[in-house]
């Protein structure tokens, strides 16, 4: 795994860890909105590809949030 995806995974998991205190749908939305509002499209695309590959090590909320963002796109 390259350094850049490791860093994105860590950041995404941190975001999900904050929102996991909320009911699941809110947590998914919160995570998705945060990534949408603060990440560049290249960072989102990189994480998207990682989710599509296998998504190992990602918080489940991140996986769902990325799916959410893809649907909205």
């Amino acid at each position: 795994m390259s350094d850049d995806i490791e860093e994105l995974i860590r950041m995404a998991n941190q975001i999900a860890t904050f929102f996991q205190a909320y009911p699941e749908e809110e947590a998914v939305n919160g995570t998705a909105e945060h990534i949408r509002d603060f990440w560049t499209s290249a960072m989102r695309a990189r994480l998207d590809r990682y989710v599509a590959d296998n998504g190992t090590g990602l918080h489940p909320l991140v996986t769902r949030a990325m799916g959410h963002l893809q649907q909205a796109a």
Binding site: S2, M11, T17, F18, A21, D37, F38, T40, A42
Partner: protein
């Protein structure tokens, strides 16, 4: 303007609604109850002679110069200590009073050196002026007093680098002693001896000023009516003859100063009494440490080079700008539009920051703009916007005068924000209670006449756990302000939060082991904050620079809302901003996701406003944050960077990572005063302007927009905004301004919270606190008074999540970083002043037990090793540290404090976790590998081509 001499009313202003009407010399005046006769007379324009009185301190009544006659009162009372009474009739000038005053003045002069013509205070001496006022014509006691003439006098104390103390000139009025006590709150000075032997002393008889407790704030010098305490710069140059009102460029307090000048020469900086932030007070940095502006290290000619190991080549502005633009355009052609970006600086004006972010968005064509607030207060922006609706502190500084309980968390105001700390200490001496939450025993915990009710000496990284425990007590002990919450906050969010913090796992007893503080202390602190009437929270980077920085800001906002401590004077959640224009640089759209005024780039309406005004299409996509820029540089997609007045190579965490990223880029443009650490990796250097050359505005931590006025012309010949406009034009975007005032007009036009701001308005009103708009035409000292900016306050759930940075057997200690009074941030400015005499090197503070366990003695050189790197520093054994925690500052680049810090960062904003790094300390007798390499870079990357021989 001519020299601005502010009126001295003799005694402080009283603030009360009740008024009293009196007659003075037959004229009627109405003043607040408690006003002195002296002040009332002065307000009438009928000054009474005085020596020991000045309106910066309370009346003392010792000099007997200000006597008056009052109908129905026997004798001649001192007007400074006599408060007005309703119907009082006062005479300030009668033959009897004249005679008494002249007699008193004779006594003073009989023991004063009469070297007026060669005295440094000649033309600026109250003793001299008063002698003239009272008509002194003769001294019956002769001129043989002990203090007469130099041969009899004690030698001057010239130990302080900025002022001297000449006791032979002293009239023992105690103004300096009282200023040190009442204004600064340090209590460093005293009157030693009795009668004719009385003299001012900085502590014990063997102390001089430099070695004393004196913090060199300058209040005593300002208060001194003679040349006893006098700036050395006045001694060297003479008294100034013109003033320029401007704003300090150091911390986020944003003090107003009179730059007192002779021609283009700054003679001294004197704090301005009408300055809203400082009200006439200053610290050692703002008052004295401005010499860097004309330091020999200043680079005033643009320079370029092809490679970072080439010597710098001095070029014209046109060549430098063309060089930078060509490189940036070439990078974009090769790697794409998003391959370049820029960083704005909190040391620059709002106008300078605004044009840089505009250049990046409009000329670079992307949103890759970030600011140094990323590494300090970005969590403040996120946390306060989420809970309250706006990215700013809630109060003005004056609000602290109404606080009853002050909760200081992760801030060290006496070092970091000294002028505000003095205001806070004044309130504490008047009876407000203090709670300090900090791993270190900072000065506020116990200093003269200030003692914290509770020092919560928590473990670094457990802030959120502490706030949850405090909130648990508030919720479970019935201390919630139910009426406030019901009326002002989102009901569902509050209910959810209440249930969360009430859980047993958030009780102090459950969290005390993690926090490292006994639960009873936490309970008592929570009760004190919640029930002590006005509870005010002040915080600093000890809150934000954590992996849960944003969570912590929200947790504090939760606590303030739950206890109703928002929306009036004396309360609030108040960030103490690190640099002078952190607030302003954030306001000006320096974040990659936000346009000026904190509007998201994806907001089509807001973006459309800018597009119409700037005649350009803007990207709706968030750009790269600083850490993302470094990552993208290392993966090859980010190749060019414009850095305005920031030293990322020194200030950002994990130096190896940062410098590797900088080395990998093709073009770095640094706009700065000095060849800083980042410049070692740059290809273009564009000389910047010091605050003494800038024309613009700074916005301080209380949202106060203050004018910064030039006192001298730009040493480089161009303003920074003009340089940016030229670069922008060279990049293909037509940016033109005729003045910085015009830039502010554009800011006001495009930013709703600034819509009522203009230079003309600021020149008229002094300063304004945003929002300044139709709803608040005179600004907004206190936010969220009738309702929150977002409508209703939003409680957020703040689960405590321990940092990933963990101690273990290899790295058993936690390193935390901070700053010291005499130095500022990366030290680029203060290291080039005499302030370095107080802090010539960074040191590692370590608890005696931790030191002993490692065989470390005070002053030993030690190696500090983390998972990221190692540096070595001298050790200082300190009882201020708790066991298991060590501390250092990052003011000297060779210290390499950020070689050790990690890439861990706040979950919401990527603000680095500077405050928690697991380290090991061992004795060492040599610099680290990084420090050796650093010295080599100094030799290779800073060379300048020699000038051709004429």
């Amino acid at each position: 303007m001519a020299l601005l001499v502010e009126p001295d009313f003799g005694t402080p202003k009283r603030e009360t609604e009740k008024t009293v009407t009196v007659q003075i010399n037959g004229r009627t005046i109405t003043v607040p109850e408690g006003t002195s006769v002296m002040r009332a007379a002065s307000e009438l324009g009928q000054d009474i002679p005085k020596l020991c009185a000045t309106d910066m301190v309370n009346a003392w009544g010792s000099c007997r110069m200000c006597l008056v006659e009052i109908d129905g009162v026997r004798g001649t009372p001192a007007s400074c200590t006599t408060p007005v009474r309703e119907g009082m009739s006062v005479r300030t000038q009668t033959p009897r009073l004249e005679k008494i005053r002249r007699g008193v003045m004779e006594l003073y002069i009989s023991d004063h050196p009469l070297d007026c013509l060669t005295c440094a205070a000649n033309g600026d001496c109250e003793l001299q002026d008063t002698a003239g006022e009272v008509g002194l014509r003769d001294v019956r006691y002769g001129f043989q007093g002990e203090k007469h003439f130099a041969e009899a006098a004690e030698p001057k104390d010239e130990s302080n680098p900025y002022f001297h103390f000449d006791s032979s000139k002293c009239i023992v009025c105690s103004r300096c002693v009282r200023a040190c006590e009442e204004v600064q709150g340090t209590f460093a000075l005293t009157i030693q001896g009795r009668g004719f032997d009385s003299k001012v002393s900085a502590g014990t008889a063997s102390d001089n000023f430099f070695g004393s407790e004196c913090v060199s704030c300058g209040a005593c010098v300002q208060a001194c009516p003679t040349a006893t305490l006098m700036e050395k710069s006045v001694y060297d140059h003479g008294v100034p003859n013109r003033s320029v009102l401007t704003t300090c460029a150091y911390c986020g307090v944003g003090c107003s100063f009179k730059a007192e000048m002779q021609g283009d020469q700054v003679v001294r900086m004197v704090p301005y009494k009408d300055g809203g932030a400082n009200e006439g007070h200053s610290c050692v940095k703002g008052r004295f440490a401005w010499g860097y502006a004309t330091h020999k290290d200043r680079i005033t000619t643009p320079m370029v080079r092809d490679k970072i190991t080439d010597p710098w080549r001095k070029v014209s502005w046109d060549e430098a700008i063309a060089f930078a633009a060509d490189r940036f355009k070439s990078i974009q052609q090769k790697y794409g539009n998003g391959s370049i970006g820029g960083i704005t600086s909190s040391r620059c004006t709002n106008e300078e920051v605004f044009v840089v972010q505009k250049m990046i968005r409009a000329a670079f064509g992307n949103n890759n703009v970030d600011t140094c607030a990323r590494v300090c207060h970005s969590p403040t922006g996120y946390g306060l916007k989420t809970t309250f609706g706006t990215s700013a502190g809630t109060q003005n500084f004056k609000s602290v005068e109404k606080a009853d309980v002050i909760l200081v968390i992760g801030a060290n105001p006496t070092d970091g924000h000294p002028v505000f700390a003095s205001r806070m200490k004044k309130r504490l001496r008047a009876g407000a209670k203090l709670i300090v939450a900090d791993p270190r025993k900072i000065d506020l915990v116990r200093s003269p006449h200030v003692s914290a009710s509770h020092h919560i000496q928590l473990r670094p990284g457990t802030n959120v756990a502490l706030m949850n425990a405090l909130a648990h007590v508030v919720v479970t002990e019935g201390l919630v302000d139910e009426e406030f919450v019901a009326e002002r906050c989102e009901e569902a969010d509050f209910a959810r939060w209440r249930a969360f913090v009430a859980e047993a796992r958030n009780a102090p007893e459950a969290l005390s082991e993690k926090i490292g503080v006994d639960p009873q202390t936490i309970r008592e602190a929570a009760r004190l904050y919640a029930t002590g009437k006005n509870g005010a929270i002040y915080y600093g980077l000890g809150v934000t620079e954590h992996s849960q920085g944003s969570t912590m800001v929200m947790a504090m906002a939760n606590l303030a809302m739950a206890t109703g401590n928002i929306g009036r004077e004396g309360v609030g959640v108040n960030p103490l901003r690190g640099q002078n224009n952190v607030q302003g640089s954030c306001d000006m759209g320096s974040f990659p996701h936000e346009l000026p005024g904190y509007r998201h780039v994806a907001d089509a309406v807001a973006r459309g406003t800018f597009e119409a005004d700037w005649d350009v299409t803007l990207s709706p996509e968030p750009g790269l944050r600083i850490p993302n820029m470094f990552a993208a540089a290392l993966d090859g997609s980010f190749r060019g960077l414009f850095v305005q007045g920031e030293d990322i190579a020194q200030s950002d965490p994990n130096t190896h990572h940062v410098t590797a990223a900088l080395e990998s880029m093709e073009c770095i443009v640094v706009q700065d005063l000095f060849l800083n650490e980042t410049a070692a990796f740059a290809q273009v250097f564009l000389p910047g302007t010091s605050f003494l050359e800038k024309d613009g505005t700074f916005t301080n931590a209380e949202r106060r927009i203050n004018r910064v006025r030039p006192v001298m012309t730009e040493q480089s010949g161009l303003s920074e905004w003009e340089v940016v406009a030229r670069l922008s034009r060279a990049m293909g975007y037509d940016m033109h301004y005729s003045s910085s005032s015009e830039i502010m007009d554009e800011i006001a036009r495009l930013t709703p919270t600034f819509s009522g701001v203009s230079f003309a308005r600021l020149d008229r009103d002094g300063s304004l606190q945003w929002p300044v708009n139709d709803k608040a035409p005179n600004g907004t000292p206190t936010m969220h008074v009738a309702g929150f900016v977002r409508g209703k306050g939003r409680f957020m759930i703040t689960e405590y999540v321990p940092t990933e940075e963990r101690t273990n057997r290899s790295f058993p200690l936690i390193l935390t970083t901070g700053r010291i009074l005499s130095q500022y941030n990366v030290g680029a400015q203060t290291r080039r002043t005499e302030n370095s005499r107080w802090h010539e090197t960074d040191v590692l503070e370590i608890h005696p037990f931790d030191a002993e366990e490692r065989g470390i003695a005070d002053g030993d050189r030690v190696s500090i090793q983390s998972r990221k790197g190692a540096v070595s520093l001298p050790a200082q054994i300190s009882e201020r540290m708790p066991q298991g925690v060590v501390y250092t500052t990052f003011h000297h680049p060779v210290s390499g404090a950020n070689v050790i810090t990690t890439e861990f960062s706040d979950w919401a904003t990527n603000c680095p976790e500077y405050k928690v790094t697991a380290v090991q300390i061992v004795r060492s007798n040599q610099p680290s590998d990084w420090q050796v390499a650093y010295e080599e870079i100094k030799r290779t990357n800073y060379r300048t081509e020699s000038e051709p021989a004429e």
